[in-house]
């Protein structure tokens, strides 16, 4: 009996832990911790405030981390970037497929289609060479691509979408 109970509890826990991903609309996210560095708004499934879903660096660090090494046209030598994959972020906030209007601190804006295959490996980088990035170093969030891995990524279109000092993503239809 004890064994059966243990199995049942484990299954329940697994089910509950999976639930937030499929949670009903406007289910609350935990409140952002520390300074908000990224806000996702618009047509998203979960929020933690009026603006939409706001994240501090610690919140982003809680999300699945990934990274890659590449050179960029803006930097010297091979750089190591890590952070949250854009698609993971979109899934995390329950964003439907649509266009994304991304805005930088200097009001630079680019619009991309969420389903664009070029965005597959796009990374919301929070660290460069292991260290958080200041605004002077194009941080705190820089949308980067693994340019060295694919010639298609070495084009002006992708360069123009490599938005640094990213602060807001609006999910549109």
């Amino acid at each position: 009996m004890t064994l059966m109970n243990a199995i049942r509890n484990a299954a329940l826990a697994a089910l509950l832990s999976a639930l937030p991903l499929h949670a009903a609309e406007a289910e609350a996210l935990p409140a952002p911790s520390g300074d908000v560095i990224l806000t996702v708004s618009g047509k998203i499934g979960v929020t933690n405030g009026q603006e939409g879903a706001a994240f501090g660096l610690a919140d982003l660090d809680q999300l699945p981390q990934t990274g890659f090494e590449t050179t960029t046209i803006w930097t010297e030598g091979v750089q190591s970037f890590s952070g949250v994959r854009l698609s993971d972020m979109l899934a995390h906030v329950g964003a439907e497929a649509g266009s994304l209007l991304m805005t930088a601190l200097n009001d630079y804006q680019v619009e991309v289609e969420a389903g664009d295959p070029l965005l597959k490996d796009a990374l919301l980088a929070t660290r460069q060479n292991g260290a958080p990035m200041s605004i002077r170093d194009h941080g705190p969030i820089w949308l980067v691509f693994p340019y060295d891995a694919d010639t298609n990524l070495r084009s002006e279109i992708v360069y123009s979408k490599s938005i640094w000092q990213l602060t807001r993503i609006e999910v549109r239809n």
Binding site: W74, I135, D137, R154, Y159
Partner: protein, 816 residues
């Protein structure tokens, strides 16, 4: 010979081909290389390695302007929040960093301007950053100155950036130049290659068309030449050539056909050849042959048909048919040759041959008849001369009678020769197969001739191997040939030498080749005569006739005999030196198994038995001769003048022996014999045919009629003695037995007949007498001399055997 250069046309076309190929390869290679270059350039363009530099540079100015504005505003308000100012500075800072690290600014084309800009930016950041990063209290007092500095700095920066952008634009244009040039080059090359290829293609097509046209022209000309040659050939052919369709419609009719058949070409066209030129009985064969040829089951071999002219005259023609396929479908080409002349010539030849054969037959018949007609009176003449000689009154009469007798003998010999030759020519020479002793045979020829050789002072030698096997053959015929050869040799080698040499070479088991050379040192025979001497009636030298006194038939008969025995008789001769005749015969060795010893025990003639003999003979002379001969043998004789009388007499009384002539008026011999055998007192009597007919098939006929023995005229006394004597020993009882078995006398009757025919009656008798004397002598020696050795016995036997072989005494010949 030097190899000749290739023909110019071939060389040109080859050269052309290589040139085109090379050109196409070079063109395509160039295009491919250029396309690769362009592709690489395009890839470089697509793979942009730097950001939009104009945007970045102008953004530096914008960011600086925003910072300047923030600084100015914050300078006016002492309580202002400085976070916004700091953000603006950070943004400018990051932008400046980008510009300072940007790859495009390291581009050589804008190197001087870029390093100036980088220097300016570094100076500014180094000066301003510590101010911004200081605390708010320290920063506030400086804000007005910072704004003023930023303004000154911004104006300188603007000039630098403007110049940099202009330089960059120029550099960009310059960087595009290689691609533009490349594209232009590619364009021109492509155009050139395309034009070249199109030209080439056009030229090739033109060339090919030209060649094809030339070839077609040439083949057309060749066709025309062939056609005209064919037309000329067919037109001038001596044979009729008729071309017709399968369903029988004449398409062509050549001049020879017009001439042979009498139809003009226009008359013949479109008509069926069957109706036009073939006789009715030939149509079927023509159609069958045509279809067979069309089906491929027969070739175009020639066959003979009967054809018809326009005039209706029919004539034989030789025809051959071939087929071909034309626009009209399958066509048949018939070649016809008028062979009436040839057929007529063949018929003439055949007629001539038949005539010649008939003439030859007539000649043979004539000779047979003549010799028969001559032998009958000769028979009488010789017998009468014998009797006259015996009763001659004095020596003078006897000498005359001997002369007459010699002449008659010679005449008989000639007649016999002619008869023998005619037999040989018609293949009627009888050849026997019996065991004989070659040594004895050779002795029997050579020994008697020694006396004559001695007379002429000629040496006569015999040479033969010591060990001679017993052989099977016809010893009399061999002896006849050798006798002829030796006699001839002696005639021509007077005072010289004649050598007889025998040798044997084995052929296979129980088979040898016997070769006997008769060599003389005579006058020789000229080469041109060597081939002729074997022809009948040929005597190469006029002197031959005089000295030899022959008919010239001896060699012809000898060669005929040799060939009948499967051998040959040839001559080698050198005029003035001598001649060598070689008789060569294949002979079996050993002993004939059917030569039973029964023959050896045949009864010898027994004297003292008186027989009743009936002589049936129409010829008076012959009747008298036979009566005299039989009487002298000590028998009683009755006479009948013809068959009818003979039958009557034989029926009335039993005779022991009846001598029956064959050709008689009223009733001939065989018929009479049949009558006698049918019934009457003498139906079991021994009937002996007496005839000059010695053809084998007739002898067979006589035997069938019941004549158990046959005597050939002229009749020698000894020959007569034998069959009559046989009757005396009671052998007549055996008459129902087969004739062959009955006819086994001590002396071979055929041998005796042939000896008498060859030597003449006189010499035959003297030979027989000599034989008897020899036997007596040999017998006396064997009985009297007890000191004789085994070798002496053998020698004596050998001698006796040799003598017996010549005479045909069977028992002695068969003694081993």
């Amino acid at each position: 010979m030097m190899p000749r250069a290739k023909s110019p046309a071939f060389s040109t076309s080859q050269w052309f081909r290589w040139m085109v190929l090379t050109l196409v390869c070079i063109s395509l290679g160039t295009l491919i290389i250029m396309a690769q270059e362009v592709s690489q350039e395009l890839q470089n363009l697509r793979e942009e390695l730097h950001e939009n530099i104009q945007w970045n540079l102008t953004q530096i100015e914008v960011d600086l302007l925003q910072f300047e504005n923030e600084a100015r505003l914050a300078g006016l308000d002492p309580a202002a929040d400085l976070a916004q100012l700091r953000l603006r500075y950070d943004l400018f800072y990051s932008r400046a960093r980008i510009a300072m690290g940007s790859r495009c600014l390291s581009d050589a084309a804008i190197d001087s301007g870029a390093s100036e800009l980088v220097g300016m930016l570094r100076d500014y950041l180094d000066k301003t950053t510590p101010l911004i990063d200081a605390g708010d209290d320290r920063l506030r007092p400086d804000l007005t100155k910072i704004a003023a500095d930023a303004r000154t700095y911004r104006q300188t920066l603007r000039r630098t950036i403007t110049r940099l952008i202009q330089d960059h634009a120029a550099a960009t244009v310059a960087s595009r130049e290689p691609l533009t040039l490349l594209m232009q080059k590619l364009g021109w090359t492509t155009a050139f290659v395309l034009i070249s290829l199109i030209t080439l293609l056009y030229a090739t097509l033109l060339y090919a068309t030209l060649i094809l046209r030339q070839q077609s022209e040439a083949s057309k000309r060749e066709n025309e030449r062939l056609t005209s040659r064919l037309q000329a050939t067919v037109g001038t052919a001596l044979d009729a050539v008729i071309v017709a369709t399968r369903d029988g419609r004449i398409l062509d009719f050549n001049p020879a056909a017009e001439r042979i058949f009498g139809y003009s070409r226009s008359e013949a066209l479109d008509r069926p050849p069957e109706d036009l030129i073939l006789s009715e009985q030939t149509v079927g064969e023509y159609r069958r042959t045509k279809e067979k040829i069309a089906d491929g089951v027969a070739d175009g071999s020639r066959f003979t048909v009967t054809t018809r002219r326009k005039s209706g005259e029919e004539f034989p023609a030789e025809m051959s048919i071939a087929w071909d396929v034309s626009a009209d479908g399958r066509i048949f080409i018939s070649y016809l040759r008028d062979v009436s002349d040839q057929v007529a010539a063949e018929q003439g030849l055949r007629q001539a041959r038949d005539d010649a054969v008939a003439a030859e037959q007539a000649k043979t018949n004539f000779i047979a008849v003549v010799s028969h007609e001559m032998r009958t009176p000769l028979n009488g003449l010789l017998a009468t001369l014998d009797f006259a000689t015996e009763e001659a009154a004095n020596a003078s009469q006897k000498r005359f009678l001997d002369l007459a007798r010699a002449s008659a003998d010679q005449l008989l010999r000639h007649v016999d020769d002619v008869l023998e030759l005619s037999k040989a020519e018609t293949g009627q020479l009888a050849i026997v197969q019996e065991t004989f002793d070659l040594r004895a045979l050779l002795d029997s020829v050579v020994e008697p001739a020694k006396a004559k050789a001695d007379q002429m002072a000629t040496s006569l030698t015999l040479e033969a191997p010591d060990k001679l096997p017993t052989m099977i053959g016809d010893p009399f015929r061999i002896g006849q040939i050798l006798n002829n050869l030796v006699t001839n040799a002696l005639k021509f080698a007077s005072g010289g030498a004649v050598a007889v040499a025998a040798r044997l070479e084995p052929l296979r088991r129980k088979q040898v080749r016997l070769a006997i050379d008769v060599t003389d040192t005579g006058i020789g025979i000229s080469p041109e005569d060597q081939g002729r001497i074997f022809d009948p009636f040929v005597m190469p030298d006029a002197s031959y006739g005089r000295s030899a006194g022959g008919t010239g038939l001896g060699l012809a008969i000898s060669r005929g005999l040799a060939e009948r025995m499967g051998g040959s008789l040839v001559v080698e001769s050198t005029p003035g030196i001598g001649s060598r005749f070689t008789l060569s015969l294949p002979l079996a060795t050993g002993r004939r198994t059917q030569d039973g010893s029964a023959n050896a025990t045949s009864a010898a003639p027994v004297a003292g038995h008186k027989l009743d003999v009936l002589i049936v003979e129409d010829n008076l002379t012959n009747r008298i001769v036979l009566e005299e001969m039989v009487t002298r043998l000590g028998h009683d004789v009755a006479l009948a003048e013809n068959g009818l009388i003979g039958v009557r007499m034989a029926a009335a009384r039993r005779f022991d022996v009846i001598l029956m002539d064959v050709s008689m008026p009223e009733m001939d011999g065989p018929t009479a014999t049949g009558e006698i055998r049918r019934a009457g007192a003498s139906r079991k009597s021994r009937v002996i045919a007496v005839t000059a007919h010695s053809m084998p098939e007739e002898i067979e006929r006589f035997r069938k009629a019941g004549m158990l023995d046959i005597l050939t005229k002229p009749i020698a006394r000894a020959a007569l003695e034998r069959p009559i004597g046989r009757a005396a020993t009671g052998e007549a009882e055996a008459q129902a037995a087969p004739a062959e078995q009955a006819a086994r006398p001590t002396f071979d009757p055929e041998r005796i007949d042939e000896i008498s025919a060859a030597l003449g009656l006189d010499r035959t008798i003297s030979a027989l007498e000599r034989f008897c004397a020899d036997m007596r002598r040999i017998g006396a020696r064997l009985a009297a001399d007890e000191a004789l050795t085994a070798e002496d016995h053998a020698a004596l036997f050998h001698e006796a055997k040799g003598c017996a072989a010549v005479i045909g005494h069977r028992p002695l010949t068969l003694v081993a």
